[in-house]
């Protein structure tokens, strides 16, 4: 059963979910961080993942992103079992994550940060590099073009030659999102993307994420800021104490007594 695309088929008979988490358990020594977590992320949604501190959200992000191998259970991406695959393997399949803390390449320029993320670069192998810039220049120029388009779209074109380490917290976030987009992801795993971002910039970031969703990028977003969740996320998965309480459309979230209890108790 595990690994079959059928398990990802939901009751309504819709297309299989892009990402399915199936009965995931994660223990750290005697502590159980997740016990029996299952949920689906449907294609074309921004699915929210919320819950009080210690609910197991970050553990789930680590497992889906490949940083942690679950004690048991499985993760399916496009119907294939990707449990235990490493982060770089997942990224090559189209599943790219961002981080809760700033993770820019600080001594690279903003433009270089984006260029690093471009997949299958011919100048990125030993022989490719040794053949010299004539060999990789054409592709490099095309990639610079793509990166500059993204920079323009996020209003950061004038920062391209700044070192990423010198940017503000919010700008670093934007760089991280743009960088993830350079991998041409089908699925973005966003770990609290709005933390430390100026409210004005957060609004713009939200607009960008909506546009990305409309362009077909599916997202799973861990977020604490409820106004952002309400605006962007539908449906919403609520976790508490290592389990999924509910997976619900946004408009029905407040009707779930368990959610209210978890937040009040948590």
């Amino acid at each position: 059963m595990i690994g079959s695309a059928l398990t990802a088929q939901n009751a309504a008979g819709q297309a299989p979910a892009l990402l399915s988490v199936r009965d995931v358990h994660q223990r750290f020594g005697g502590v159980s961080a997740c016990s029996g977590v299952s949920f689906d992320v449907q294609d074309g949604t921004i699915t929210g993942l919320i819950g009080p501190n210690g609910a197991g959200k970050s553990t789930m992000v680590s497992i889906i992103g490949g940083a942690l191998r679950p004690t048991s259970g499985s993760v399916l991406f496009e119907g294939h079992d990707v449990t235990g695959k490493l982060p770089h393997e997942l990224s090559r399949l189209g599943l790219t994550r961002t981080f809760q803390t700033s993770s820019e390449f600080s001594r690279l320029t903003v433009l270089e940060n984006l260029l690093v993320a471009a997949p299958s670069q011919v100048g990125e192998t030993f022989l490719g590099a040794l053949r010299g810039r004539r060999y990789w220049l054409a592709q490099e120029r095309a990639r610079v073009g793509q990166a500059r388009e993204l920079l323009s779209r996020f209003d950061m074109r004038d920062k391209e030659s700044d070192l990423a380490g010198d940017l503000s917290g919010g700008q670093k976030r934007l760089v991280e999102i743009m960088r993830a987009l350079m991998t041409k992801p089908k699925f973005l795993l966003l770990d609290e993307p709005m933390v430390g971002v100026h409210p004005d910039l957060a609004l713009r970031l939200a607009e960008h994420l909506e546009r990305l969703r409309d362009e077909g990028v599916t997202m799973l977003m861990v977020e604490h800021e409820m106004s952002i969740v309400e605006r962007l996320c539908d449906p919403v998965i609520v976790m508490a104490q290592g389990t999924v309480l509910v997976e619900t459309p946004m408009r029905q979230l407040r009707q779930h007594q368990a959610v209210v209890d978890a937040y009040l108790a948590g």
């Binding site: 770089h88 990224s91 590099a129 490099e140 120029r141 070192l163």
Partner: protein, 328 residues
């Protein structure tokens, strides 16, 4: 110029070439890829021993007073190439042990231990490379073919070292300016983020480690064939820190910086102190030299961590072509 001065200067130039190659290798590992290779000197030593035993001839030959393994008399440049190969293979083995699972601070500790183990083994297992006495009477490359007088041979060796340096530079430069170099720097700055963007971090680190190890070995081979002798006392673990200091002072991630660092620290420092009048008890100046090198590294890390020549900021022109170093 008198013969003696020429002799002195040509010797310094060979030392400089050797140290520049070593600094480029260490810079690729530490400055570009962020690897804390505290065992760096053993890869230089591995190259030196390889070149030595492959030129010394059979250890069973009559009149041979040294014991060593794999003795043969290969013609130049085979010992040099063999040294590079041994450096690469040894790096691969050490890298597979240290670079896969360990965090960088633990990598550094393990490297230091590897360095000490290597010295201990080579010192005590006399059958390997003649133990603490080391190998000597290592023949000089092409000396019998060229038949030059000693001074001319010195200058020939300088020229040869410069050519080998140029070849090494070709490799290091092509790597660092390419997208590959950019990915190595990304791994250095944030390995988890690089992995999340599809980069195989372990593979990238192994690559820098192996290429650096091969270059280190070449530098050792060039050195040993020049001085004709090699013993464990010449590659104790603190020697790594002299080269590391040179890379830090010159400027991490900058090839020009590595040249300046090599000129200042391993070459300049050792030579300048040679001419100091003897003070205190014998060996005091040597000991103070280590103190001074340590202080110099600390001062730079405090006041100018980017070094004399900081890493170049890589920009692109309007068409998306990377700007060359000299165009900005």
């Amino acid at each position: 110029m008198s013969g003696a001065v020429q002799f002195y200067i040509s010797t310094l130039l060979v030392y400089l070439a050797v140290d520049v190659m070593a600094c480029w290798a260490l810079n690729l590992q530490f400055g570009v890829a962020g690897l804390m290779n505290f065992a760096f000197i053993i890869f230089q030593a591995a190259g030196a021993y390889t070149a030595a035993v492959l030129t010394l001839g059979s250890p069973d030959a009559s009149g041979n007073f040294q014991s060593y393994v794999f003795g043969s008399s290969m013609p130049f440049p085979l010992p040099l190439l063999a040294a590079a190969a041994v450096g690469a293979v040894l790096s691969l083995v050490v890298g597979l042990i240290t670079l896969r699972r360990l965090r960088s601070d633990y990598q550094a500790m393990v490297m230091l231990v590897v360095s000490i183990i290597a010295t201990t083994v080579v010192t005590n297992e006399i059958r390997l490379f003649n133990g603490p006495a080391g190998l000597s009477t290592i023949p000089q490359p092409l000396a019998d073919v060229l038949n030059l007088d000693p001074l001319d041979y010195q200058w020939f060796y300088v020229a040869m070292s410069v050519v080998i340096c140029a070849v090494v530079y070709f490799f290091v430069h092509r790597i660092t300016v390419s997208p590959l170099g950019r990915t190595l720097r990304a791994v250095r700055d944030n390995d988890a983020a690089a992995a999340a963007l599809g980069k195989d971090v372990t593979r990238m680190r192994m690559f820098a480690f192996v290429v650096g190890g091969a270059i280190a070995a070449v530098s050792g081979a060039v050195l040993v064939q020049f001085i004709g002798a090699w013993a464990p006392g010449g590659w104790l673990y603190p020697e790594t820190f002299v080269l590391l200091g040179a890379v830090i002072i010159g400027g991490r991630g900058n090839q020009l910086g590595s040249i300046v660092g090599a000129l200042l620290l391993p070459v300049g420092f050792a030579e300048a102190t040679r001419f100091l009048p003897p003070i205190g008890r014998p060996g005091l100046i040597d000991a103070l030299q280590w103190v001074a090198i340590g202080l110099l590294i600390l001062l730079f890390l405090w006041f100018r961590p980017q070094g004399i020549f900081p890493e170049r900021r890589r920009t692109f022109d309007g068409s998306g072509t990377p700007n060359r170093a000299w165009t900005r």
